[in-house]
Each structure stands twice: as C-alpha cells, then as structure tokens.
Symmetry: C5
Subunit: 88 residues, 5 copies
C-alpha cells in the first residue's frame, strides 16, 4: 500500500459500468516526511476520507476485490485513514 | 486510477485475439495541474471519449475485467470522462 | 497498453515451464513522438511482429491470459502491429 | 520481490473491511548497497518484523493471496526477514 | 518480462508460508546494452541460474502461477537463462 494525502475530488457523468455511485478522491502519494512523491492517484473512497487527511491507498486487483463486483474497473481504493505513524 | 488527457488514436490491422473492434485511444497521464507526467498509455474506449477530454484511466486486470472476455489482453481502459475536478 | 518499437530478439535454452516455443522479442517503449522512454520489455509475439515495427504491448495478467495456459509465466505480449497513429 | 528496510509503523482507526487486526509497517525499498531507492511501501506483517530489519516485500495480488480472504485489500506484505545476502 | 543480470543471493529464516525451500536470487534489471536500469528484484529461481548470467524475469501474478500453489506470495521469478540476444 502507499501513504498519501487527499487533495481533492473528481466528478464524471459519462462513465463505464461499475463506476456509478463511486466516490472518487484525488490522492497525492507522500513519503515518510509527508512530502509529495510521484503522480496523483484517483482512488475510490468508501470510508469517509476528506481533503487534508493522510490515508492508505491500495492499488491493483486487491482494490477491485473490495467492490465484490466481478467486472468492476476500480484499480485503487482508500483502505485506511491514518491516525498516526511513527518513523525511527 | 490515473487522470489523463486524450491526445490521439491508434490503428492496427494485425492484432491478437480480443483486440478486434476495440477502439484504442492515446492518453497522456496528467497531474492535478493538468501537466503531462510520465509516458502515454494506450487505452480501450467504450464510452465515447474524444481528443482533448480529461479522462480517468483504469490499468491492469480491473481494466481487462470490463471486457467480460476470459482471455482479453486489454490492460488499460478509459472508465470516466471528467466533468470537473477540484483540488484544495 | 504501451506503444513500443521492436528492436531485437532473445533466445533461451534453460527455461521455465510455459516458456517453450514462445517467440520473445525485445521492445523499446516509446512516446507519441516515437522517442524511447523507459527500459526495454521482453514480450511474447504470436502475430509476426518484426524488428523496426511499432507495436502495442500488453503487460501483466492480461498478457498471460492470452496463452490460455493456467500456469504460464508470460507477463508481456505484443497485441497489435501499429498501421498508423494520430496525435493532435 | 523487493529488498527493504523496516523504518516504522502506521495506525488507522477508520478502515476498509479486511484491514482489521492487520499490522502495518513502513518499509523503505533499498538496493544491494542497502541504500534507499524509491518511495516507502506500507506492508502487512505477520512474521514479526521489527524496525531496522532488512526484509523481503511481496507486492500485488500475490501478497493479497497470503490472507486467504477473497476480498482482502492487502497489496503488499513482508514475506521474509533477511538473515544475510551476498552480492558478487 | 525484464532482462536482468543475476548478482547475488538472499537467505531468510523467518518467512511467510509459501516461501519455504524457495531459492531467491538478486537480479539487476538491464537494458539492451546490459547496463543496469532501476532497482534490484528478488526473484525465485527453479532453473539453476547463477551469478553473472543474463536472465529473463517475470513479475506479478504470472510469476506466482508458476508455483501452482494457491496462496504463494511469489511475485517474481527467473523464467529463462539467456543464451544470446540480438539488437538491431
């Protein structure tokens, strides 16, 4: 999984099957100093994450499996809102 | 998923099984400032995306699953046409 | 999928199950200007691609599924030979 | 798999199904000189890895399969604690 | 698949299920000039590859499928030892 910071939202009208009623957030991956690293990820959110929060992002088929829909095209999801993290 | 901008089209005659009658667009991934980031992606389009539009791209097996064909070699698809997005 | 240019061939004698009788080509990913981007990919070819041709490359499990063999270790395949592409 | 060094821990309260009771560690990928390369990975740990240890990280669906839960959103796991490695 | 050069070995005692009795080699991806590109990959070897040899590496679920174990956490494997390759 990646560590990221929620920075915004995306809205679509024209979309593929399995994308209806999916809340999509824009997440910026960060390093252990909370500095931006790499390009943004568009991730499904089902746990109520909000802009400014640090989150855990799952990518690929493990994110798709969350939907429990055989043909869902979701390839990224927010799977945790980070309370705290510690780096030594 | 990635955010991207449709920049063109690709045509092939000689192709693998599962690529017949698939509309392929060239998509340039972008960041939250709509600046190009990384290399282009060739993505299946079934929702009528056009050059210049900002889209959402799904990659990997979740894109393949959209086809509902067991052996389809699709690994990227346009899964939403972006109406608007907001970054704070 | 990626856009790439076929630049060579690879031969192996000692190999894993599922790699026998597989034609492997060396493909250099390119951008929309046909400039090289990133490292080479070794891809299965079943459609007769040749050195110098521009091709479409599928990566990951969607490439493996083409083989229709449950345990094939193929993770990249040439899935189209490009006739033309247009970037606006 | 990647070689990495465990550098910390992450805690979440709000989380997706399948993330409950999962110990998450922050791992920094390293090269063969044990120098940091690329961004951190958040990985599931079930084998008792600790901060400072060099570990092997599995990514993607092979990590998810370890959980033996159909819909688990785990996409990275520590799959070995390195005793020693030798580079020639 | 990637082209790589075997540069070493890794040993672990504490490990996940499915990692027992797996020979793990350290492989450095290379380009068509045999120059190092990107970070090392830890790959399963079942075909007797040795340090200094040029090999083909399969990544992701196609590598896992080689094991024929449902829950194996292998995400990279050496699938060919390169006899020769030709770049034009």
């Amino acid at each position: 999984m990646l560590l990221g910071k929620v920075i915004g939202s995306v809205w679509t009208t024209q979309k593929e099957k399995g994308m209806e009623h999916v809340k999509l957030l824009i997440v910026q991956p960060v390093n252990s100093m909370k500095e931006s690293v790499g390009n943004i990820v568009i991730a499904m959110d089902r746990i109520g994450a909000g802009v400014g929060e640090t989150v855990i992002i799952t990518q690929g088929l493990p994110a798709q499996k969350l939907t429990n829909e055989k043909n869902s095209p979701i390839d990224a999801a927010i799977t945790g809102i980070v309370d705290s993290f510690e780096v030594k």
